[in-house]
């Protein structure tokens, strides 16, 4: 970019003159590694989709109520908030980090939004903005500590996980905030599409997945997120401001948690200080089930969407089958280990 005239053009001309025959045989004849159709990487990519399809087929045979538009709308609504958190979590995990604070940061954002609006008479839209900014602030703290102070992400976000949880309870006096203004629950409203209720929040979630997909796959910034997680030293040597980029990743994740906070209150119509406490693990589960590697550098946002849907489909299908909810947790746990194993084996093979 900075150099519009890479040397290549000139070199082709000079190289064309005298190609040493022996040399080309040596380099060209070197072990040509073909990517086999069912390579480890491909399995890691297709696995989640396959698991989702299998689960759907299985539940369709078990319950006549499973394969209906209404049921799927319900599934999406149930995983919407965790799915949104998982988008931010994916960005962080792609850089070989982890964010344990996502759920309680979201809860803090939701309490700021609701308490400001209900108790302090701040205009609802401004209150939403302040809540989102609170989440962005947490992202900035996480990012700065990880990139500049070089603390391990696990420890940093374990700290901010607790800080956000404590601040949420201190600020809310442990009270659930009710009577939210309409503007704060608008995303929970739905419209009909062929008899199926679609909430605006669902559209926002899907829109966020699409936006982050675009950024990760189509922009230089997104490609650098991958490179950063894949080989931070090589990325730095190529002149990419690694620390700045890493900070921005955590800030972006904070912004996404802020939007998740808005989805949360629009869905529950209250500001609940106890919300989101276990959502960090659910979000990480969705990311891992979607085939993103905890070692960074590999994974897709589509995978995370599939991972979130797997969690939702399992929960919903098992409820329809009348299976006790503790078995959902059991099966999710087994699936996570399976997903990480597939990732490990795939990595070892290359």
């Amino acid at each position: 970019m900075s150099d519009p005239n890479p040397r290549t053009t000139g070199q082709v001309a000079t190289a064309g003159g005298a190609p040493p025959a022996a040399a080309s045989a040596e380099a060209g004849g070197a072990a040509q590694v073909e990517t086999p159709f069912l390579s480890g990487t491909r399995i890691a990519q297709l696995g989640p989709l396959l698991a989702l399809v299998i689960a759907c087929v299985f539940f369709t045979t078990q319950s006549s109520r499973f394969l209906t538009a209404t049921n799927f709308s319900l599934i999406v609504q149930q995983v919407m908030v965790v799915g949104m958190l998982a988008v931010g979590q994916t960005l962080v995990i792609l850089t070989a980090g982890i964010d344990l604070s996502c759920g309680t940061v979201m809860a803090f954002g939701s309490i700021v939004m609701t308490k400001m609006a209900v108790d302090n008479n701040v205009p609802p839209a401004l209150a939403i903005l302040l809540g989102i900014l609170a989440c962005v602030g947490f992202g900035l703290v996480n990012g700065t500590l990880v990139s500049l102070v070089k603390l391990p992400p696990f420890i940093v976000t374990l700290g901010t996980f607790n800080i956000a949880y404590a601040l949420t309870h201190i600020y809310s006096n442990d009270e659930t905030i009710t009577g939210l203004p309409n503007a704060q629950t608008a995303l929970g409203k739905s419209f009909n599409l062929g008899g199926t209720a679609i909430t605006y929040g669902m559209l926002v979630t899907l829109g966020m997945f699409a936006l982050v997909w675009f950024i990760l796959t189509q922009t230089a910034w997104g490609r650098r997120v991958y490179a950063l997680g894949d080989n931070p030293e090589a990325t730095r040597l190529m002149g990419i401001p690694v620390r700045k980029q890493l900070t921005i990743v955590y800030v972006a994740a904070g912004l996404i948690y802020g939007i998740a906070a808005l989805l949360l209150i629009s869905r529950t119509s209250v500001g609940d200080p106890n919300a989101g406490f276990t959502d960090n693990l659910d979000a990480i589960t969705a990311v891992v089930l979607g085939g993103t590697s905890l070692f960074g550098g590999r994974g897709t946002i589509i995978g995370t969407l599939i991972g979130a849907l797997i969690v939702g489909v399992l929960r919903d299908g098992l409820v329809l089958m009348g299976v006790a909810s503790i078995y959902q947790t059991l099966i999710t746990g087994i699936l996570v280990i399976l997903a990480v194993s597939v990732d490990q084996v795939a990595r070892r093979r290359v």
Binding site: S2, P6, T8, Q11, A23, E26, A30, T219, N231, A234
Partner: protein
């Protein structure tokens, strides 16, 4: 003597060095790493830089590539005085470096690695407004670059980790050659590789020179140095002990100069370059 050799040490009379340094000094506390070193790299050559540990070899290279700032002395690129404050500034001036530890991103494809940090955007509003990168153009350009260096890799969308070690280093060399406008520094480029893979990379380095880029090669491996170098810069005690001609001096005499067993004054004149 090697009579009909076409690639003799370049005739330096009247040629200006592409990169030169005079009287470089670099101290760390009261340790003097470089103690008034001189350096010249001429167009079209591979200059090997050798030296024992602590001879000031790596400090010299770091000063030339912007990784350390010398305390005294001057560096000139194409005759112009330069003061690199970071490797990025050296790179912007047209100096690229290949590192020994395969500085590539393994999960990324070849084209992405070649353009990492210098991604090409798509033309029109897709690029300027939406900031979309041009995957196709980058793959095409990568393909052209790899072909010009005769690195036989079929697909530029192949992940680097699917390549052999030699091919991976080939990607790093191709990247440096693609972006360097003045010269390429190769810092122990074969240290992490096996014999066969080293051979591929050595061929590649020759092709980089033959395509018109001068190369500074830092290596501990004497056979590699003698196979590639047009001239050998020997660093010793923070200075340049001698510049040797690998076509006329033996490997053992070279090592003797490097370790101090042979005084620079006692080197026969025909062995100097």
């Amino acid at each position: 003597m090697t009579g009909g050799e076409t690639r003799a040490a370049p005739d330096r009379t009247g040629k200006t060095p592409i990169l030169e340094a005079h009287g470089l000094v670099k101290r760390y506390g009261h340790v003097t790493a470089i103690d008034g070193a001189d350096f010249e790299l001429y167009p079209g050559e591979i200059l090997a830089v050798i030296g024992d540990n602590g001879a000031g070899k790596s400090s010299l290279i770091k000063a030339l590539s912007g990784a350390v700032i010398p305390d005294e002395g001057e560096i000139r690129l194409d005759g112009q005085r330069v003061n690199f404050k970071s490797p990025l500034e050296a790179r912007q001036a047209g100096i690229e470096t290949v590192y020994q530890d395969l500085a590539v991103a393994p999960a990324m494809d070849i084209a992405t690695n070649l353009f990492l940090g210098r991604e090409q955007r798509r033309a029109g509003p897709l690029g300027s407004v939406l900031r979309m990168v041009d995957h196709k153009a980058m793959r095409r350009e990568a393909d052209r670059q790899m072909k010009s260096l005769q690195i036989g890799i079929r697909s530029m969308s192949q992940a680097v980790e699917t390549l052999s070690g030699g091919q991976r280093q080939g990607v790093a060399v191709a990247r440096a050659a693609a972006w360097a406008r003045k010269l390429v520094i190769m810092d122990e480029p074969t240290a992490a590789l096996g014999v066969r893979e080293s051979g591929q990379v050595l061929e590649l380095i020759k092709r980089v020179r033959d395509n018109g880029l001068p190369v500074i090669l830092i290596s501990h491996n004497m056979p590699h140095v003698f196979e590639l170098a047009d001239r050998i810069h020997v660093a010793r005690l923070g200075k340049r002990a001698a510049v040797l001609n690998p076509k006329t001096i033996s490997m053992s005499d070279t090592v003797a100069v490097m370790t101090g067993a042979m005084a620079p004054e006692s080197i026969p004149p025909e062995c100097l370059a």
